[in-house]
Symmetry: C2
Subunit: 148 residues, 2 copies
């Protein structure tokens, strides 16, 4: 299963949702990149998870309690380009007048290289659960990495 080859991104996406529907952990992990690179997974209203170990454990827990579920995908927008850069960040919001008023948001930002330099094409933000800022995540705080 780990050796499965997906010839196109669409094949990988189809396998992802098939594994989700079947609660099949090995099939799910066969979709994710295997190398040392960071992988990033944010479940709905969940903290950002990075790396094989955290991502696998999260799916294991989800599948352990998941009922039989159907998932259908609609309104797909696909963006491919020769030069894309994907950033995952924690956004810490605060009010200058009230240091106690704080909020944490996890965001996925995607930039594309255009004739006019780099521009944003995706900003996906969601609330991070309380405690996400704490360095409980082993991979947190590490230096940015580049794939390949």
């Amino acid at each position: 299963m780990a050796g499965r080859i997906y010839p196109t991104p669409q094949d990988a996406e189809a396998a992802f949702y098939e594994a989700l529907e079947r609660s099949d952990l090995e099939a799910m992990m066969s979709v994710w990149a295997e190398d040392e690179e960071d992988i990033v997974c944010v479940h709905p209203s969940g903290a950002r998870l990075t790396g094989q170990e955290q991502v696998r454990e999260s799916w294991r827990q989800i599948f352990a309690r998941a009922p039989a579920m159907r998932v259908s995908i609609t309104q797909q927008v696909t963006l491919s380009a020769a030069m894309l850069s994907v950033h995952s960040v924690h956004e810490s919001f605060s009010l200058p007048d009230d240091p106690r008023a704080q909020g944490l948001v996890v965001a996925t930002n995607v930039y594309v290289r255009t004739a006019a330099g780099w521009r944003m094409i995706v900003h996906h933000a969601s609330p991070a659960p309380a405690g996400s800022e704490a360095p409980a995540v082993p991979a947190a705080g590490q230096a940015p990495k580049t794939l390949h």
Copy 2:
């Protein structure tokens, strides 16, 4: 402002958060890709927005009611590769035994081309507000597009 050139993705990201902190709509939109390509923006717990018009209007509304706010970015993970594919989808969940039990999730999925075919590196999912599945979004339901 629309002609600003960001030599690196980091420059574009810095400009994005600077515009956010300053509630500067023109600076914000100077960060986004300008061409016909789809751009995708999901605000925390918000619906997926696509295209210049929807994205600009959302920031205009946010900035109109935003208090002076500080934003700091931490725990950045950067993923760059020669061949990346970014998909934005709506995930419709349902229980086979109870058709009324339904849920809608908006997800950003990023795939990378590896020696072993295409693999996922990012899955960012967040709950979509009620009504997001309705075709109220002009760009919804369109065919997948490829940049460049």
